[in-house]
């Protein structure tokens, strides 16, 4: 669920572009703007997601993202994390305009590489209005691009389909093929993922864990052939955030046994959980969803950012209630490196932690059981939307 950070990213980039130090107000979209078309559709339970159509863009909805995180291993067995997010935003501006430049759909992208040898993240971002073929989001299947950055599904007869992710920035670049094994995992109630006590705060949300990755990655002057495993989230919504949320914690982990775990909690003003949910796909393919008090996030170690002074709980214990009389399952979350903070206040206004983590079991001699990504927002200044 990452929506908060991604949403903040999408909206604050613009307010920062448009008004230095301007606060963003999520509720300012009242439809009174000139050129605002029809209202945003609501997210309701009971809708059936249809693939491959729902892999593509949903331009009527306010916000949408395709979010890929993963671990890569190069020829020398060096492990790195990577992240690529494409956002689509419908600002309800200039809808029905005759200019091709009409900013009625905006696209943003954000990419990062976590390289333990550097002890920090390499990251870059892009923003454009939708203007095919320069930038756009296709509706038939996943196909989003901003200039030379892209994430697109391709398939040919007789060959299993795969995503292709291409990113080139000054400091780093990657060109990866991501091949899914198995069907998408629908989060929440068949893809309806509730975010707060009020059911209108929800999204359509599915994940594709265990994407088999192969391709090229360069960081600095070094180019590598890489393989690994990644995770794709695709989520679209119109009114996802409750007003009283301060931030959230999210993980998405590929378990070594073939299972997959997604969990999030939204925190209120004082850090108290407002809403929590999780999806666990077991190795046998069975799916369990968790909600509210069936989940608890317990911080076990904190790290203070030398740059922003923000304190992040970089290590966690995650407890999931057992089914029936089964005992509580506990996981330990340990970061690839502590400093995976993204300080983009200068450009996007957001400052948060988003990084590669390992998952351990709760034994006396903990065994690594999976790898994934952790995101934590709202630990720095309270983020306004």
């Amino acid at each position: 669920m990452m929506q908060r950070s991604r949403h903040i990213f999408a909206t604050c980039l613009f307010s920062a572009l448009c008004a230095v130090n301007a606060a963003c107000h999520a509720d300012s979209d009242t439809g009174v703007l000139r050129g605002a078309g029809p209202a945003y559709p609501g997210v309701v339970p009971g809708e059936t997601l249809v693939f491959p159509r729902d892999h593509g863009a949903h331009p009527d909805f306010r916000t949408e993202w395709w979010y890929i995180t993963g671990w890569l291993r190069d020829e020398a067995d060096v492990e790195r994390g990577f992240q690529l997010t494409f956002f689509r935003v419908r600002p309800r501006i200039a809808e029905g305009g005759s200019s091709r430049f009409s900013p009625n759909q905006l696209l943003l992208a954000h990419a990062a590489v976590a390289d333990p040898a550097r002890w920090r993240l390499l990251h870059a971002e892009r923003a454009e209005r939708s203007l095919p073929p320069l930038a756009g989001a296709g509706e038939a299947h996943t196909d989003v691009r901003i200039r030379d950055w892209s994430l697109a599904w391709s398939e040919a007869p007789g060959v299993a389909g795969a995503y292709h992710a291409r990113v080139g920035a000054g400091e780093f670049a990657f060109d990866l093929e991501l091949r899914p094994e198995g069907a998408p995992v629908l989060n929440g109630q068949g893809g309806y993922s509730r975010k707060a006590p009020d059911p209108k705060h929800a999204s359509y949300y599915y994940s594709r864990p265990h994407l088999k990755v192969s391709g090229h990655l360069s960081a600095g002057h070094d180019a590598h052939r890489v393989t690994g495993a990644a995770w794709l989230d695709h989520e679209w919504s119109s009114e996802i955030m409750p007003d009283d949320a301060r931030g959230w914690d999210w993980i998405g982990v590929n378990l070594d046994d073939g299972g997959a775990l997604m969990a999030f909690r939204m925190r209120g003003e004082k850090g108290e959980p407002i809403w929590s949910a999780a999806t666990l796909r077991e190795a046998d393919g069975s799916l369990r969803t968790f909600q509210q008090d069936e989940i608890s996030f317990v911080p076990t170690r904190e790290w203070r950012s030398p740059r922003s002074g923000t304190v992040y709980p970089v290590a966690w214990s995650l407890h999931l209630a057992g089914a029936g009389n089964a005992p509580v399952r506990t996981f330990r979350i340990v970061p690839l490196m502590d400093d995976q903070e993204l300080d983009s206040r200068a450009s996007t206004g957001a400052i948060y932690w988003e990084g590669a983590v390992r998952l351990f079991d709760d034994g006396t001699e903990p065994q690594e059981i999976g790898k994934g990504y952790l995101e934590m927002t709202g630990y720095a200044d309270r983020l306004e939307m």
Partner: protein, 840 residues
Amino acid sequence: MNPALVRLFAASLGRRRLATALALFAIALGVALGLAVQLIHEAALDEFGRGMRELAGEADLQVRSGRVGFDEQLYLTLALRPEIAEASPVLELDARLPGRAGTLRILGIDLFRVAHVQPALMPVADDRDARFAGLQPDTIFLSAAAQDKAMGKGRGVLRVQSGVKVVAFRVAGTVPGAGVGQALGVMDIAAAQEAFGQVGRLTRIDLKLAPGVSREQAVTRLSPLLPAGISLSQPEASGTEAAALSRAYRVNLTMLAAIALLTGGFLVFSTQWLSVVRRRREFALFRALGMNRGTLLRGLLLEGAITGLAGGLAGIALGHLFAALAFRLIGGDLGAGYFEGLRPSLQFSPGVIGFYTALGVAAGIAGAWLPAHDATLMGPASGLKAGAAEAAVLGGMKESRGRGALACFGLGLFACLLPPFGGIPVGGYVAVALALACAVMVLPWATRFSMQVLNVGRGVVWRLAHARLAAAPGQAVVAGAGVVASVALAVSMAIMVSSFRVSVDDWLGTVLPADLYLRASSAGASGFFDADALKLVENTPGVAFIDTVRATEVRLIDGRPPVTLIAREVSRGWGLPLVSGSLSAHQRDDSTGLPPAWLSEAAADMLQLAPGSTLSLPIAGRMNLFRVAGVWRDYARQNGAVVIGRDVYRQLSGDLKVNDVAIRVVAGTSVDEVALALREVFSDDLVDIAMPGEIRKLSLEIFDRTFLVTYLMEAVAIMIGLFGIASTFAALSTARKGEFGMLRHLGMTRAEIGRLIALEGGLTAAVGVGVGVVAGGGIAWILIEVVNRQSFHWSMDIHVPYAGLAAFSLGLVVLAAMVARVAGYRAMRQSAVLAVREDW
């Protein structure tokens, strides 16, 4: 030279304060004018260039077109090219401000692209919760200068013209990156395209190249992708273009300054000559006391240099004052419209100050050169003799100058044939200087010749005056040189201005044949008539038929300002002031079948095309061939204009907009009534309605205002000429005390001697004026046929204001006689006995 000697020479200047002051004034005026023009223009160009650089930001290359723009597809093509790291599309418009003077530059930008290429254009919203403010279709961001220019105080809405309507934008914030004095508005590119009827069009793409790609490589590889008429150049090129745009205008003003400086030099010459003549005995004494020729020469040149230096310094101060005043009152534009809206600040540059001071000194030294040279040729012994001064005046000018005059004439003719150098008619200016020199050299001969012609004896006084001038033409040179120079300058300017004015008047008559004109805006700005607006015009009662004019811009040569492309009907009697070729669209000798185009003289010169040749014009991104059917005279568009048929243009471009509408009213209908009816249809602020009479009156008023400064220069020149007469005759009267005493002894009355002097003055002036008028005619011809043709590329019909010139000449001769009489008065007052005795 030791200080005592410096004092010795410098003190002489103090003894002739008025003469020195006038010479100083002329030099100061020349220096001031030249300096002011340069200061104003440099500051404006600097400001312009800085503005361009700011707007171009970090761009390595710019794709540019005229105001018409190009298809936005080019941006998509270029942005995906591997040579390009960043591309930023811009739609630039000059938005007309209803009810306000001038236009506001509005840049439609893509916020996301501007951040990477032109950060200075980044808009900043005032409002704290102005989400997406920079993308809203109804908002605009104004630079501080634009706020001042386009907005009333405390108003949050900007109203601009689009077509014949008003569009309003909410002012959502500022453009802090825009330089001081840069008046511009920034808005979203999509909103700008829609608000100004430019959907699908861009006017500029700023490009940042990928690492490792050089500008040359990029130009080579990308140029084939560009539609015709679109240039790919470095951002600095537009500054060069602006400089080229205003060069001719600057040269013109600088020429005025040069004429003032030249006049100053002449004045130094004539006062210095007189002074040298008067001080012959003094110099002979110096020489006898051991001063060598070199020292004498240097001393006399020093006198000229001091005058020049003082004039130069006064001119520097005056020039800065002029420039500062001009900045405060009219901005950096010099009234020519090239840098409208810029408010540059005055800058002191030691180099420029040094150069203009040196120019003043050079004028002083040049004026002093000939007299000083002559003074050194004198033998000390002969100079010490009584009457030496008179003898010097009498024999001052020898035949040797005749060859010089011939040489000047020949060289001048040759200089007229030279092509312009870098767009500046250097040959023409050299010919003007040579014509002046020739006139002065020919003066002794002219005096002798006219005295032979006038050898019709009447009274004693006439015969005496006649005999003196016939015998001593050198005197005429001294007194007359100033007259010749000033008359020549005044006459040439009078003829040129008169020819120009008459030609402009005729031209206005030809280009404004209709009864009524409607204008939505000039070529570049945002006003235009669309089909609906034209319907409204046509349906107005009293309108018999209308003709439309579409004016846009095309870039014919890279690095040169764009040429105005005018699409209109040429037949139907709406003529063009042709200088060659024919108006008929179908010519008998034409086998090409190409559509006709008519070039203005400036365009024909620039392209070096004559009727019958083939012209290719970039229209709608394609090259289209035309046949040059004629060349026409255009005083309005100095960078050139091309007229093509309206239907041909519409067919090629698909552009149906119209800038001007010419209306012929139904016979018997009052033009005023039709104008009134149209006024009710269109808002006063949006459409100008004018009758040809008004346009013509206004145009001629502007013309007269522009040339006011030349009348001032003429007046100064005449004053200087008269002063030459006065000072010469004052000196001559002193030198001829003995002669006058003798005449008194022989029985002449004082009044008769007074008449003698007046007559001599009048005759001298008459010869000077005669030569000056002839020289002035020649110079006028050079100015019209060489200087104007080469620098402004427009021809005119020579029109000599005979009556005015005759009255002027006669008046000048009478004035000269009076001045000579007054100047010689002192000599006549003296006792005859004393005057005779003094010489013995």
